[in-house]
């Protein structure tokens, strides 16, 4: 006996309406059950297209979150209109554990509390370097994912820019007994994560790395991990050229 198809009783017009409904539903809820940044600029994530550098006004509603490398950018005053939430030694897993003091407030608060105090339509994140020196890339990526899930939950209307950390010099990697592969894997994983979670990916790893996967020595500070001031200015220019116009 010929079996009736479950849609065979429906009129073509009803089928079309159903399909349109499903299409619209999938556009509004692109990945039900997964955490994604809701906001996308006029360029879809993850790769911002290179353009002329934006001015300081672009960063008036931006927060820069990160570790010592980000504090370096703050100290050099490279983005004078942005607000910074930085703490040395911070990593994706410790972003909700490290405590901050705000001027005029005796309480200790978390990074999330501090971000909330500032205009945060755009959030630039530079974290991971302090984890990769002792933790494999997979574990660091898992921590990063959890951190981003919380970020998106806390700031659903923000545009997120994840800055992939630069590598280390050959000497520093030898001291830490790790191989360049760890940073390469992290970069690949972070880019994939950015795609999945609708985040913008800014590749600082590629900006300063040599063909062998090590941080180029001309960019490295004396410890083989942090950047020289001149290289931080290159980083600044790169960020200014890789933003997205927000809606």
């Amino acid at each position: 006996m010929h079996q009736r198809h479950f849609l065979s009783g429906l009129q073509p017009r009803a089928c079309a309406a159903g399909l349109i409904f499903l299409l619209l539903f999938s556009m509004v809820f692109p990945a039900l059950g997964e955490t994604q940044a809701a906001s996308s600029g006029l360029v879809p994530p993850p790769d911002p297209v290179e353009h002329e550098p934006v001015g300081d006004d672009y960063f008036e509603d931006a927060v820069f979150l990160g570790d010592s490398m980000m504090e370096n950018i703050e100290m050099l005053d490279l983005f004078p209109t942005a607000n910074f939430v930085t703490l040395i030694g911070m990593s994706p897993i410790s972003a909700d554990k490290k405590l901050f003091h705000l001027p005029g407030d005796d309480r200790f608060v978390t990074a999330y509390d501090v971000i909330s105090q500032y205009p945060h339509q755009k959030i630039f994140i530079l974290l991971g370097g302090n984890a990769l020196d002792h933790k494999p890339s997979d574990g660091t990526l898992q921590d990063y994912r959890k951190m981003m899930e919380r970020m998106i939950q806390e700031y659903p209307d923000s545009y997120f820019f994840v800055l992939c950390p630069p590598s280390m010099t050959r000497t520093k990697m030898a001291q830490a007994s790790i191989s360049p592969k760890r940073y390469q894997n992290f970069r690949e994983g972070l880019k994939q994560l950015a795609e999945e979670m609708h985040l913008y990916f800014i590749d600082l790893y590629a900006l300063f790395v040599g063909e062998d996967g090590f941080l180029l020595t001309e960019h490295a500070a004396f410890d083989g991990f942090h950047l020289k001031a001149e290289s931080s200015k290159i980083l600044e220019d790169y960020i200014r050229r890789h933003t997205v116009e927000v809606e």
Binding site: S68, E71, N72, M75, D77, I88, G89, F222, H226
Partner: protein, 155 residues
């Protein structure tokens, strides 16, 4: 008697000169003192830091300071820094000193976890005071920089 007068005159001139020197030293700018301190030990490259950073990270108001100079290792690979500040006469000097010590103590906690080999520099650092002047120096050689600070202050 003549000898006594000569001796008294010499003593008067010496103390007079010393007092004059001390007064001159107390008007030294924080920048000048900071430069003396920085030249005394092999610091990492230190960068001049702006007011916004001073207020946010040290939790002190620049308005409370008559003059100040802040330099630090901008990579943050080390906690090395030189802060010299002259507190205004109507400002709460004790509160500024307390804020500097609290900052140093927080940095020590962070560096014990982040770069334990650098923690000793912070353990040796504390806010030092000479009249209206305050200093917080995190140095690779505390003995040398404390001596240079003393010279800068003409103690």
């Amino acid at each position: 008697m003549k000898k006594c007068i000569v001796l008294l005159l010499a003593l008067f001139l010496l103390t007079g000169c010393a007092a004059q020197e001390k007064t001159a030293a107390l008007t030294a700018s924080c920048q000048e003192i900071a430069e003396k301190v920085m030249a005394a030990a092999g610091f990492q490259e230190l960068t001049a830091i702006n007011e916004k950073y001073l207020e946010k990270h040290f939790l002190i108001r620049a308005d409370d300071l008559e003059d100040w100079a802040l330099y630090r290792d901008a990579t943050r690979a080390t906690p090395e820094m030189v802060l010299i500040a002259k507190v205004k006469s109507d400002a709460d000097q004790a509160a500024v000193k307390k804020a500097l010590n609290a900052y140093n103590s927080e940095q020590l906690t962070l560096y014990r976890d982040y770069q334990p080999d650098q923690a000793a520099k912070l353990e040796r650092a504390k806010a030092l005071q000479n009249g209206a002047y305050l200093a917080l120096i995190v140095s690779p050689d505390a003995d040398k920089t404390t001596a240079a600070l003393g010279q800068g202050w003409r103690e």
